[in-house]
């Protein structure tokens, strides 16, 4: 069992005037496929990308990403 990083990107996009994946991708400098992978929890971003995403949504990094240790209940993502 290893720790997982979950995120609320999908929810935050909808809270921000239904921002599209493409718009978010362009604003943080990645491809749309990377946003798709992030939302599906198939990819853990670098710290730089995580900060950029948090900055786009105007929230602290913990407001977007959550570390889930083994044995912890699944947080809201």
């Amino acid at each position: 069992m290893k720790a997982e990083v979950g995120n609320k990107i999908r929810r935050l996009r909808f809270d921000h005037s239904t921002m599209t994946q493409q718009e978010l991708a362009e604003r943080v400098g990645v491809t749309r496929q990377t946003i798709i992978a992030l939302e599906a929890n198939r990819y853990v971003p670098s710290l730089v990308l995580a900060y950029r995403i948090a900055r786009v949504f105007g929230v602290p990094i913990e407001g977007v990403f959550q570390l889930r240790e083994p044995g912890e209940g699944s947080g809201s993502a």
Binding site: R13, Q22, V30, T31, T34, A37, A40
Partner: protein, 155 residues
């Protein structure tokens, strides 16, 4: 389609065509020119020089928005390089080195393996083939990674 996927497909096609033509060329030359002439078939490996055009896939097209490569693509590329390197080191060279050793031992006996050598002119060929195996493994790994990670899900 992602630039790295197009690049991987291009590499697989080039490597595949070059390999098929090389084998066919060697067999045809062997038939008409004999064992020494069969080496001329390896001239088809020169087609792999086309791999040098791979960088063109990462050019940004006019009017194209966003980035061509990002950190995730780089990570997939690095992971594929690692897979290919391991395959060449422990797969290709394992088969070549251990295979040659076993062949000599089985054919000539244990004592012969201490005095039997590989002709030096095989070394450039082995070097080229290991490079081709690396390119093919890298491309295949890229395609597999994107196939399993690239599902579309707009929301």
């Amino acid at each position: 389609m992602h630039a790295q996927v197009r690049h991987a497909r291009f590499m697989l096609v080039i490597v595949g065509v070059a390999s098929v033509l090389t084998v066919a060329g060697c067999l045809v030359a062997l038939n008409y020119l004999g064992p020494r002439g069969a080496w001329s078939g390896f001239g088809f490996l020169g087609l792999t020089g086309l791999l040098g055009f791979g960088g063109l896939f990462y050019r940004k097209r006019r009017g194209e928005k966003g980035v061509v490569m990002d950190e995730r693509d780089t990570q997939i590329g690095n992971r594929s390089s690692l897979v290919a390197a391991v395959l060449v080191t422990f797969g290709f060279w394992g088969v070549v080195c251990m295979g040659a050793w076993f062949w000599v031992v089985l054919r000539y006996g244990m004592g012969a393996s201490e005095t039997t050598g590989i002709p030096v002119f095989w070394l450039p060929l082995l070097y080229m083939v290991s490079g081709i195996v690396f390119q093919a493994a890298w491309s295949a790994s890229i395609l597999i990674h994107y196939r399993f990670e690239g599902q579309d899900d707009e929301g």
